[in-house]
């Protein structure tokens, strides 16, 4: 029977279909475009994997994906950019003092809070006073430091710079940074009901972006950080190399095309290694007793709690792990772009789109999340040329100068928002378990 054949080889067929789509782009548009899409598909797939760990395994509704991805991006700046010595000299003390004050304030609040008897009004006042004191101290030391740093050659640096390490180090560090922030967020917010958790995480991710945009001493803010070092060779160097010239001649490709293709292939290989490791890890985790416990918690929290499972702690753990994966993907994305642009972090692109990927791919299934990442990113990019093509054909009977036709052609760029919305709504209605549904395990 045909249907059962499709059911049996569902994921293989869907992935081959995806591969064919990419090859078609390679043939009809160009291989460079196809590889660019492929690389971003891989990064999106990793982000979707992270969201799937939180939503599919544990049912945690995290709408703060953008914030964690941005933290990963920030990590790649802080790890890979060279240190700005001058900025450290003029403002390093102020920043460090400010940092110490923050730590002392938070620590003393945390220590004092449980020591004062409950139900005592005074404890709110004491904490309030401590916070005010800490804040004033912060402003006194921090502000001059910040001003001094931002005045150091503002058009080129104007920030502290990074550690000057290879950018590959930033990938795990991005994960760790995101995980640390996720731990704090999870500690305070995971007790909330699912839709409140969604709104809280959305708010927190916006706060993270606002901080990144405005703390120029750390991130250069809206001035962007350009020219991040690369983990792969530069096109210019490749074109000079003798072995590469022979190779390009052998393939009968122009030198610049061949070099840009090779660079993209290198990125793709790196990403594939990461995705393979992550996939192996998460599949093993899903099959382990831990995965069984997570599913039990997701499907019935009360029952799992009654069986003696610590639901809160497991939620926190899975939230941190998922966020770490997203943070890592964020660092990889920034590496691929070669620049850190805080303005580019929009919730539509970095939060909601990733969610659409997970829902459409099949929540609870890692392969589904990866397929969803590929499909949705592909349509996000290709909807515009496809939309343009359709509209151009539909309106071909109109006069070329007709204002309606011009308006429609102009609007084709926004077809992708509509397409993604319709795809999501249709999936939720007719195939709520997604393209590759979660395996039923007995």
């Amino acid at each position: 029977m045909k249907a059962s054949f499709f059911q049996k080889h569902r994921s293989v067929l869907l992935f081959s279909f995806m591969g064919t789509l990419l090859i078609l782009v390679g043939v009809f548009q160009s291989w460079s475009v196809a590889l660019t899409i492929f690389n971003l598909c891989l990064v999106s797939a990793i982000m979707a994997l992270g969201v799937n760990i939180q939503w599919g395994y544990a049912g945690l509704f995290n709408v703060g994906v953008m914030g964690f991805a941005a933290l990963g991006g920030l990590a790649s700046v802080l790890i890979s950019m060279p240190r700005v010595e001058e900025a450290w000299e003029v403002g390093g003390f102020g920043i460090l003092a400010g940092f110490l004050i923050i730590v002392t304030t938070v620590m003393s609040c945390l220590i004092i809070w449980p020591k004062i008897k409950k139900n005592k009004r005074s404890r709110y006042w004491i904490i309030f006073t401590l916070v005010i004191l800490g804040y004033s101290g912060l402003r006194i030391f921090f502000d001059p430091g910040v001003r001094a740093i931002e005045d150091v050659n503002p058009s080129v640096t104007g920030y502290l710079g990074g550690l000057g390490l290879p950018i590959l180090v930033a990938w795990p560090v991005g994960g760790i940074l995101a995980a640390g922030v996720a731990f704090v967020i999870g500690k305070v917010a995971l007790g909330l009901r699912s839709d409140y958790l969604a709104i809280a995480t959305l708010g927190i991710s916006e706060i993270i972006i606002i901080i990144i945009k405005n703390e120029e001493w750390l991130t250069r803010g809206v001035k962007n950080v350009n020219g991040l070092p690369r983990p792969v060779p530069y096109e210019v160097d490749l074109q000079q190399a003798a072995w590469f010239q022979d190779w390009a001649l052998f393939l009968d490709l122009p030198l610049d095309d061949a070099s840009s293709l090779l660079v993209k292939v290198c990125y793709a290989l790196l990403f594939i290694v990461v995705i393979a490791v992550l996939l192996w890890l998460s599949e093993t985790a899903l099959r382990s007793p831990w995965g069984r416990m997570m599913r039990a918690i997701r499907d019935n929290e009360v029952a799992a709690g009654a069986m003696g499972k610590n639901v809160t702690w497991q939620h926190l753990r899975v939230f941190v792990i998922g966020s770490a994966v997203i943070g890592m993907a964020g660092a990889m994305l920034t590496t691929l772009d070669g620049q850190f642009t805080p303005v580019g972090y929009q919730p539509l692109r970095f939060t909601f789109l990733i969610w659409v990927m997970v829902i459409i791919g099949g929540s609870g299934n890692n392969w589904g999340a990866i397929l969803g990442g590929f499909f949705i990113w592909f349509f996000w990019i290709e909807a515009e040329p496809i939309g343009l093509w359709i509209i151009a054909h539909l309106t071909s009977s109109m006069e070329p100068a007709s204002p309606i036709r011009a308006h429609l052609l102009e609007g084709a760029a926004h077809m992708r928002l509509m397409t993604v919305g319709i795809i999501l709504l249709v999936t939720l209605r007719y195939a709520p378990e997604g393209l590759i549904p979660e395996k039923k395990r007995m």
């Binding site: 409140y196 928002l417 397409t419 919305g421």
Partner: protein, 337 residues
């Protein structure tokens, strides 16, 4: 004495009047979110786009009216275009409800599914709006810019500080008062309004008492579309219309609804003003006020600003997060519609 008056005028001009008008816009938006939450029981992420859609239809109508020379100078033409915007938006929301939400409602889907569905609606409407009117800035304000100019105020009172009242601010505040009064009258004094409150309070009991759920849902969407169109248009008149901005407005609106206590209309209004005023209070530079109030000869170096203006929008998110963590039920705990 004049110093004190100057300080008060300064505060009114830069804090109280902008706070009132921004707060009214947020309150109207939050009322829509709260109605959906109270009756249909989900957080509607598509509400920002509904506001944007209503404003868009109003703008298109305004342009139409302007081109045939209709004007109600000194008031902005958009005011007479609003009813058209409301009617079109009502039809559109009902269409979305019938094609999208109804299916999940009959299957009694859980709130998270509804939330994800509303994200789908948000994408679709966002695309549609950009497709129709484009992603750019649209200015559709006409009529007189100021009701009271700062210069006139100075001449009138002889104070150093001027007080100005923009037409859009006046229109916003007055419209908000009328709409809110109308809404409360509807909810508390009409049969349909009472049945809505009953349904929101206890669905099963309401069904047993013979309340028609379909009518309640219908009326809710009509109210939501009306409120969203008015809020969206007022915001667009005051600042400017840009599809992208309404998506950003979603969070302050959620913050307003949650701070007041989601599902509670009074809470939504109070929440709107709380959010608006805290944003302004936290980022206002108090230097000049302090100079007026302090004894003569005092010098102040800093701007006396708690947070940079860039952090304005972060204030509402921080309040949102704090309220969610400390008191998720909001100020007006445990009350619904």
């Amino acid at each position: 004495m004049t110093d004190l008056l100057n300080a008060i005028v300064l505060l009114s001009n830069f804090l109280i009047i902008p706070g009132l008008s921004y707060g009214s816009q947020l309150a109207l938006g939050a009322l829509g979110v709260t109605l959906v939450y109270g009756v249909l029981r989900f957080s509607n992420f598509g509400h920002g786009e509904t506001m944007s859609f209503g404003a868009m239809v109003t703008i298109l109508t305004t342009w139409g009216l302007q081109s045939i020379g209709v004007s109600i100078h000194p008031l902005p033409t958009a005011l007479i275009a609003i009813p058209v915007g409301i009617i079109v938006t009502i039809f559109f929301t009902l269409l979305i409800d019938q094609t999208v939400y109804k299916y999940h409602r009959t299957r009694k889907a859980n709130p998270v599914t509804f939330l994800i569905v509303s994200i789908g609606v948000m994408f679709f409407m966002g695309g549609l709006i950009r497709f129709i009117i484009g992603p750019g800035d649209q200015i559709f304000f006409d009529g007189t810019r100021f009701i009271l100019k700062a210069k006139e105020f100075k001449e009138l009172t002889g104070l150093d500080e001027g007080l100005s009242l923009k037409m859009t601010q006046g229109v916003t505040i007055i419209t908000a008062i009328i709409i809110v009064a109308g809404l409360f009258w509807f909810l508390n004094h009409t049969r349909t309004g009472k049945s809505m409150r009953a349904y929101s309070d206890n669905e099963n009991l309401a069904l047993l008492s013979g309340i028609n759920p379909r009518k309640v849902v219908l009326v809710t969407w009509i109210l939501v579309a009306t409120l969203a169109t008015i809020a969206g248009t007022l915001y667009g008149l005051d600042k400017s219309f840009k599809p992208f901005v309404y998506m950003q407005l979603l969070l302050p609106i959620f913050a307003s609804a949650i701070v007041g206590g989601v599902g509670n209309p009074v809470g939504a209004i109070v929440g709107g003003y709380v959010i608006a005023f805290s944003e302004l209070i936290m980022t206002f530079a108090y230097k000049k006020v302090v100079l007026y109030l302090a004894p003569e000869g005092t010098t102040v170096d800093s701007l006396i600003q708690l947070l940079g203006t860039n952090y304005k929008i972060a204030v509402s998110f921080i309040i949102l997060v704090i309220v969610l963590i400390i008191r998720p039920t909001g100020i007006f705990q445990g009350k619904t519609l």
